[in-house]
Every structure is written in C-alpha cells, then in structure tokens.
C-alpha cells in the first residue's frame, strides 16, 4: 500500500513538478549525471516540459505518439509509423533539434529527425525545451528542441524490468531494461523492439493500410565510473529499423526504407574547487536505404559520419554568477547515391552566463560564434530572464537569434543541390507566465518568430527542382499548459492539458504554411484508486492546409484513447497488467491528406519488475 502511494505520488509529482525547478549539477559531481547539463543550468527564462516515464509508457510505440499526446508540438506523419516530422511553433521540419545526451542528432542529410526512428522507452528523461536554442545546441534548434537523456546515477540500484505488449494489427512490443549501479559504478542496458503489420482498415472505405509493416530494434547501454574528483561516462545507442512505406487512398506502394544509426558519447568530467571541466568525444553514424520496390535489390542510400570534440569549462564565480565556455569542433562526412562524398568542418565557440541578481530576478546571456564553415559563419545570441514576482506568479522572458544550416542534401543533391546556399536565420522573442496555486499550475506563453532565407526546393524554369534561400515566414502564437490534481482518501485524480494557437505565415503568399494547425489541444485525465488506474487521453488537431494557396485542407479531428492498468501486489515479482484502447470512438481521421490513421485498436501489456 505504501509502495503504491509512493508510486502514485511520485507520478503526480512528475506531472506537477514546477518547471522552473533547477538542478544545480555544476557545483559538485552529483549522484546523477546528465550530459546535457546546459539544459537546466542555462535556461531559466525558457519553458521546459518534462515527459514522465508514466506518460511515455502510455504511448510507447513511438516518440511521435509520446509528444503528440503530451505537448503542443504538431507532427506530420506520413501514415501511421511512417516518416514523421515535427512542426514546433509552426517552424519547419528541420527547425526542431533533437538532442541526445547533449548532442544534436538531426540527420546531416535531411536536417530533421524522423520521430518514428526514436525509441521513446530507451531514455530516462525526455524534456521539451520551447524556443530558440541554437546558441547552445547549434543548427536546427529554432522552434524548440527535444532532449533525450540517459541519466547516470551513482546510487545503489539493482533493477530489472521486462515489459511485453501485444495488440491489434499484430503489434508486438518488448522492452527489457536492467540497471546495475552503486556509489562508484553505473551500468544500464535497454533493449526495445517493436513490430507491427500495421494493416488497419480505412474506416468507411473498402481499403486497408497496405504495405505499412514496420519493425524497429533499439539497444542502448550507459556506463559510468565515479572517481574522487572526476567521472567518466559512456552513452551508446544502436538503432535499426525496417519499414515498408504504406500506400494511400489514391496510390499503392511497394517502397521499403531501412534506417541504421549508431551513437557513442564518452565524457570525462573533473572538478577543481570552483571549476568543472568536461571533455567529450562522440561519434554518430546514420544511414538510410530506400528501396523503390521492396521485391528488388535496387536501392538508394545516404550515410553520414559525425565526429565531435567538445571542451566545456564551467566556472562558478560566486553564488550568484556562473559562466561556461565551450569549444565545440565537429567533422561531418556524408555520401550516398545522390550525394557525392562531401565533408564539413565546424568550430563553434560558445559562452554562457547566468546571473542571479536578486533572490527573485535572474538573467542569462548566451553567445555563439562559428568558424570554418563554407557559408556565412553565424554569430548567434540569446538572452533570457526569470522574475519570481510572487509566490504564485513567475515571469520568464527570452529572445534569441537562431539558425539552421543547409543539409548535405540541400547542398550536394545530384541533381539539383545548390552549393551556394546560406543558413536559414530566425529571430524570436517569448514571454512566459507561470501561475501556481497549491495543486494547480498553469503556464501561458506567447511567442514571435521571424525567419528569413528559408531553404525551399522549387522548380526552376528548366523543370529541375532546386533549393533556394527564398522563403520568409512570420510565426506567432500562444501556448497554455495546465495541470491539476486532487486527492481524497485513496482516490487520486490528475488532469493535464495543453492548448496552442499557431499562426505561421508565408510572407510571399500571405497564407498559413501548409501542415501547421492553428489549434491543437491535448488532454489527459488520470485516475488512481488502490491498485487500479485508468486514464483518458484526447487529442484535438485543428484543420491544416495541404496546398500553399490554402485551398487543400485536412479536416480537424479529435481522437481519444482509454487505458486501464492493474498492479498485482507481490513482493518478489510485482506484475502490472494493462489494456489500452486507441481511438475508442472509431473515428476516421487523416494526419496527412489521403493517409487515413488507424481505426479503433487494442493494446495489452504485462510488466514484470524484479
């Protein structure tokens, strides 16, 4: 009973944790090391949203689903399980950076992350950082960034978890995780597998989702050693996925797509009185293979290798002032069927400052200058501030200049690549208001983003498609996030909700950008009673335009999921059982035009913890 209470209350805490909570991990080598320390140390004026483990498990099939149901980020998914790209505050697919343990893992070839190639259960922490973060995270952190962290904790833990899931469309999911650690050493290993026939019926049509099968395997291991004044950590991740690309209502498909990626990061952190220095080395590899006909051997591929070196010096001048300097070198080499062998060297110098002026007021300054690039080397800045006005009201402000570099595909695609491209740049400003009373918190954020030199592929007069730095956009919007919980006797009820209004205008046409909804709402109602818990998820996605003249649309939809879970009390082997019904009202909806999403379907799981 007591365990359950701890479990439930910690869940609620995660849902309701004030987002301005700060981890001061610089000053000592904490028990918990997160390699993405800048995320929390130099982001006081930014909105950070942590997605708890419980929320992740509700939508464990893909990172797309996790974020779609729990944030204001809009996803354009090319049929369920297929290529999925994010639009954060109305920005384009390449303007949301995905940061793995502090390193950007957006593809060097496409500039974006396919959110269906990330296994959400393989991280200890998923945090959404809203707003521009290019000074710290580099190219692509324009609308915001998604931070995937594997925390390494030097506490005594011996924990094993096996979760098996089976459901409609022959979906099978297995997650195995072990954590073994003590005060000196840490090791975890996670294996996540999912496969699905993904052959759901198109509601109201005499068709089903053909050629949509997918499978995915992710293996991650994280290791750490703690010494007297230093710590060594190693994060590693291997990912392989095999997908057929599903057809649509109007066209069949026989395509197949295979992704492979590996990531390795070694970090050495040492502490000298007021200073912490961190040396990092990393290697990232990505490769895709596209088979236009899955039954034939012909394929097109692209691959890239990234080598990173990073030196960071954090210095605490006094209790109120801390600074950090970073030198970051990266070498990228990419080639493929349509991209000749090309490489890129980038050196970035980064300076970060955080000043707690008074107990209530703090501000931060971030600067970044890049060197060695062939294109204009950007100078970027960001300023942010937080003011704790009253016990129940905090104000956050930030403004920044951000960028997105042309990808290897943009520059070197054969045929059409344009080596004269310059980075996209964007200026933005944001006001955040946080209100909290007891068990209720509400965040209201307003943002403005002006972007220019956006890279757009368009047909030239000769009919050849080429990218140009041509588009200009202006985005503004409002985000409201709230959560609330009530607790009476053994009943616990929590509510989370997000609403966003996004206006994103193509300045040339004076029209809303395609695939950016004006309105998006997510909601979660969670109820716990003793060993039972039940939840109801709802997503409302406003209509989106599919053509640049805003004549073509995908209709708005709202889809609901319902889940029940039961914890069997057993000291030796606690087992949890659950069932989830997705799309309970069996509504027809499309996320991308002519690509219906799944009808009502059932997933069941069993979880062993020992």
């Amino acid at each position: 009973m007591k365990n359950l209470f701890v479990f439930i209350s910690s869940f609620l805490l995660l849902c309701a944790t004030p987002l301005y909570a700060q981890l001061d991990s610089i000053q000592q080598l904490d028990e918990v090391i997160i390699n993405d320390i800048r995320l929390k140390d130099y982001a006081e004026g930014y909105k950070l949203t942590n997605i708890s483990d419980t929320l992740i498990k509700m939508n464990s099939a893909s990172l797309t689903d996790v974020l779609r149901y729990n944030s204001t980020i809009y996803f354009k998914e090319n049929g369920y399980g297929m290529v999925s790209s994010a639009s954060f505050r109305g920005t384009n697919a390449s303007q949301t950076a995905v940061i793995w343990n502090g390193i950007s893992i957006n593809s060097n070839l496409t500039g974006q992350t396919d959110f269906n190639t990330i296994s959400p259960t393989s991280f200890s922490d998923i945090t959404i950082r809203s707003g521009g973060g290019s000074t710290q995270y580099g190219s692509g952190a324009v609308g915001g960034s998604i931070h995937l962290n594997n925390a390494i904790s030097f506490k005594k833990i011996n924990q094993n978890n096996i979760r098996l899931q089976y459901g409609s469309f022959s979906i099978f999911e297995g997650n195995v995780k072990t954590i073994q650690s003590n005060e000196r050493m840490y090791f975890d290993l996670g294996v996540d597998f999912i496969s699905s026939e993904n052959d759901y019926k198109y509601i109201g049509l005499d068709q089903k989702n053909e050629n949509g099968e997918f499978s995915r395997l992710n293996v991650s291991a994280n290791t750490g050693f703690k010494f007297k004044k230093s710590a060594l950590t190693w994060n590693t991740n291997y990912f392989i996925s095999d997908r057929n690309f599903s057809g649509s209502i109007t066209a069949p498909s026989s395509d197949n797509y295979k992704d492979v990626s590996t990531r390795n990061l070694v970090s050495w952190k040492t502490r000298e009185s007021k200073m912490v220095s961190t040396i990092k080395g990393a290697h990232l590899f990505e490769r895709y293979r596209y088979f236009p006909d899955k039954n034939k051997s012909l394929f097109f591929e692209g691959k890239s290798n990234t080598f990173l070196g990073d030196y960071q010096l954090d210095y605490k001048i006094n209790n109120k002032l801390k600074i950090s300097s970073i030198l970051n070198y990266s070498y990228i080499k990419a080639d493929g069927s349509n991209v000749s062998d090309n490489e890129r060297n980038t050196l970035a110098a980064i300076f970060l400052l955080n000043h707690q002026v008074t107990e209530k007021l703090s501000y931060g300054v971030n600067l970044r200058q890049e060197f060695l690039n062939d294109f204009d080397n950007p100078f970027l800045f960001a300023i942010d501030s937080k003011y704790e006005a009253t016990a129940w009201y905090n104000l956050k402000l930030n403004a920044s200049k951000n960028y997105r570099v042309p990808t290897f595909n943009d520059l070197y695609w054969d045929v059409g690549g344009n080596s004269a491209l310059e980075p996209e740049t964007s200026y933005q400003a944001e006001i955040g208001n946080i209100f909290h009373w007891k068990d209720f918190q509400i965040d209201i954020n307003g943002f403005y983003i002006a972007s220019k030199d956006l890279i757009k592929w368009q047909p030239s007069d000769s009919g050849l498609w080429m990218p140009e730095n041509i588009s200009e956009t202006e985005n503004y919007g409002l985000e409201v996030s709230g959560n609330y919980f009530i607790n009476f006797k053994e009943h616990l009820i929590s509510v989370n909700a997000n609403y966003s209004y996004t206006s994103a205008t193509d300045k040339e046409k004076d029209k809303q950008l395609i695939y950016v909804p004006f309105h998006k709402i997510t909601g979660l109602l969670n109820y716990n009673f003793k060993q039972f818990s039940g939840y109801y998820q709802i997503l409302y996605n406003g209509k989106v335009f599919t053509t640049t003249d805003n004549n073509g649309i995908v209709e708005a939809y709202s889809v609901s999921n319902f889940g029940l879970e039961y914890q069997i009390k057993n000291k030796l082997l606690p087992i949890k059982l659950g069932i989830k019904i997705n799309n309970i009202f069996d509504i027809y909806y499309e996320n991308v035009a002519y690509r219906p999403m799944p009808n009502r379907n059932i997933q069941t799981f069993i979880n062993f913890k020992f």
């Binding site: 109007t250 050849l464 002519y594």
Partner: protein
C-alpha cells in the same frame, strides 16, 4: 547562346512594333491573319444563325462545349482532378469527376483521350485508367489489371494502346498495353524500348500504325516505336534526337517530333532538335537543331497556317513559322509554362498551363497566336498538365 541573343533582339522588335502600331495594322503583318479574317467574318455570319440550332440540340451533359483540363495533383499523396471550363458561361468547375461520382480519381492524373462519347483518363501512380462519359463524367469502367505506371493512351478502332513505364528504375520492363475496348481489359502487352511516353496513331491507311515516343522516363531515350495496330507487332524503331517529348502531326502520314536533348545535369548534354518522320517509309529528316543548352518541349502547331509551330523553352512560349529561315521566330511570351495545347478551330487558341509552385492551384492562360495577345485565363487544379477540347 548565340541564338539566344538573336531571339531577344527579334522579340524586342516585335514588341516595339506592337507598341507603335494600331493592333489591326500589326495583325496585317502576320501572314496567317488573312485566313483568319475570312474565318472571323464567316463566324459572325454563321454564328448568328447557329444559335437557333442549339435550342433543338439536346445537351449531352453538363460538360459539353468546353475545355477539360487534367490536373496531375500534388506529389506524394493526393488525387489528381479534372477541371471543366465552360465556354458559354466562362465558369470553371474543378474536381468534376469527384463531383459527379463522389470518389477520388487517383494519384497523378497523367493524360486523357477523348473518343466517341467517352473519355479515357490515365492515372499514373494509381495504375489505372478511368473511363467516363465525356459529357456527363459519369464513370463507365475502371481498368486496373495489366497496367504498371501507365502514361498515355491512344485509341483506334476497338483497341486502346497504353504506354507503361513499368518499374521506372528498370529499363527492361517497359511495355505498351493493348486494351480490348469491348471488355475494357488488357488483352496483350508489347514490350518496347524504355520510357514510352506519348502515343499516337497514323491517320493514313485506316490508322494502321501506332507510334510511340520514347522520352525515356527517368532516363533518356532517343527512339520512336512503330507498332502494327492489327497484329500488335513492334514493326520498327526509328532513331531520332535525344528525349523525344512531343509531336505535331503535319499530314496523315507525317509527324514533327520535338526532341528536347539531354539536359546539362545528365552529364552528357545534347542538343535539342526537331525531326520530321515520314511514316510511309519510316525515314527521318532533321528539320532544326537547337543550340546546346536549349531544351525545347511541348511542340504544337498548325500546318494550315503557314506551318506555324509553337513550343516551350525554359517555360517561355516560342512562336515560329516553319523552318525556312532561322529568323522565322515571331514572338516569345515569357512565363513559366508547363505545357501547351493548340486549339485549331475557327480561331487559333493556344492554351498554356502554369503550374505555379506545383503545390497550389494552377492556371490556364489562353493566347491568340494570331494577335499575339492573351485572351483570357482561368484557375484550375494542382499541376495542370493536359488540355482537351470537349466540343
């Protein structure tokens, strides 16, 4: 490039002439206008009495007496559409197939063929041919079996011939599908050289031959296939310039074939050219060779009007009279046009389609080659690729 500069000079002359002279005077400079003037007078006379006849004529459907436009539709997912421009009311109705049949036409509406009361719509990515009544647009049948990346169709007698790319990355599986129109099924396939695109029939000799232009698909080809209509046998392949992309029939047995040449990004750029094909003896005659770097397409023409030919270079419309002198160019209309169709009725009307950014509704602009002026324009669907006259 030398030629290009010459073109600009000529163009400027034409413009300045137009600016300083009265419109009717400038019309007089054009040889073809003599005929047109007579026709114009004739229309006024006949036009005034023909309206009485119309009353008695029963209308065949809502889509009679107008222009049909095939719109490929957006890349990736989505559906192509067909627009109807009503000549009497000047009103455009988009999505007419969907409006009538309450379903989608399919992905990438490549082309259409009108014959009798029927329209055969080739839907490339959906691997189907949708047959409708051309005046009511009610669906008659759908052919799906036996097609693989269908492109164009021509019909002769009781047979339809459809060019198919097969797997676009495989140069050895391209074919022409033969359809028995009485049962609307593919009854035979004729393997052909890769990238078969436009397909036409020879008029002479009771349409005994079917001619295929091999543009080359994703690759570049340089042949024309001649197929015996009755035996379905590939009789011969005629070599022409690289990338034969369009044709203009000059007589019952002769064709002009526009060859775009390989583009510079192919790595082995070649010149564009125009070939005359004589289908009596399968001989070719090189009529015109373009400078390297110039890649013409969308050839249309009117032989009766002093061998007027019109084509696109880099999206601009070029008007010529025949091949007699290199200075036969009379006009360029600048634009970023996607395709051309010439309506050779009483008046010559040139329908030029503009696909815009390829992800929004396109436009058809109608020009008079006689007066070298824009007559009208109307908005249609996404990527308008073909214009057909449903008279």
């Amino acid at each position: 490039m030398k030629r290009a500069s010459k073109i600009i000079t000529i163009k400027r002359t034409v413009f300045s002439e137009q600016q300083v002279t009265n419109l009717s005077n400038s019309l007089g400079h054009l040889k073809l206008l003599k005929k047109i003037t007579y026709l114009f007078i004739a229309t006024i006379i006949f036009g005034s009495c023909s309206s009485d006849d119309d009353v008695n004529n029963e209308r065949l459907g809502d889509y009679e007496n107008g222009v049909l436009v095939t719109n490929e539709g957006p890349f990736g997912t989505g559906t192509g559409t067909i627009s109807f421009y009503n000549k009497e009311t000047n009103i455009v109705e988009n999505n007419i197939y969907q409006n009538v049949n309450n379903k989608e036409l399919g992905n990438i509406v490549q082309s259409m063929f009108l014959t009798g009361n029927l329209a055969y719509i080739v839907v490339n990515n959906s691997n189907r041919i949708v047959i409708v009544n051309r005046y009511t647009f009610e669906e008659v049948a759908i052919i799906e079996e036996g097609l693989n990346n269908p492109r164009y169709i021509t019909i002769s007698g009781s047979k339809g011939f459809v060019t198919n790319w097969g797997d676009p990355f495989d140069n050895n599986d391209d074919f022409v599908a033969v359809i028995d129109l009485s049962i609307n099924e593919v009854v035979s396939t004729i393997p052909v050289s890769f990238g078969p695109e436009k397909i036409i029939k020879r008029i002479a000799n009771n349409e005994d031959k079917i001619i295929v232009l091999h543009q080359g698909g994703y690759d570049y080809n340089n042949v024309i296939s001649v197929i015996n209509r009755d035996s379905n046998i590939l009789e011969t392949e005629i070599e022409v310039g690289d990338v034969p992309n369009s044709f203009h029939r000059t007589s019952d047995s002769k064709l002009l074939v526009m060859c775009g040449g390989k583009p510079d990004f192919s790595g082995e750029e070649t010149q564009g050219s125009i070939f005359e094909i004589n289908l009596e003896d399968n001989t070719t005659l090189l009529k015109e060779e373009f400078n390297l770097g110039v890649h013409p397409s969308s050839l249309v023409g009117d032989t009766l009007n002093d061998n007027l030919i019109i084509y696109l270079i880099n999206g601009d419309i070029h008007y010529h009279f025949g091949f007699d002198t290199p200075d036969s160019l009379i006009e360029i209309t600048e634009g970023s046009f996607y395709s051309l169709t010439l309506h050779t009725d009483i008046f010559l009307n040139l329908y030029a389609s503009d696909a815009g950014d390829f992800n929004s509704n396109g436009e058809i602009k109608v020009y008079s080659p006689d007066t070298l002026s824009e007559i009208k324009s109307f908005s249609v669907g996404i990527i308008p690729g073909g214009v057909y006259f449903n008279d």
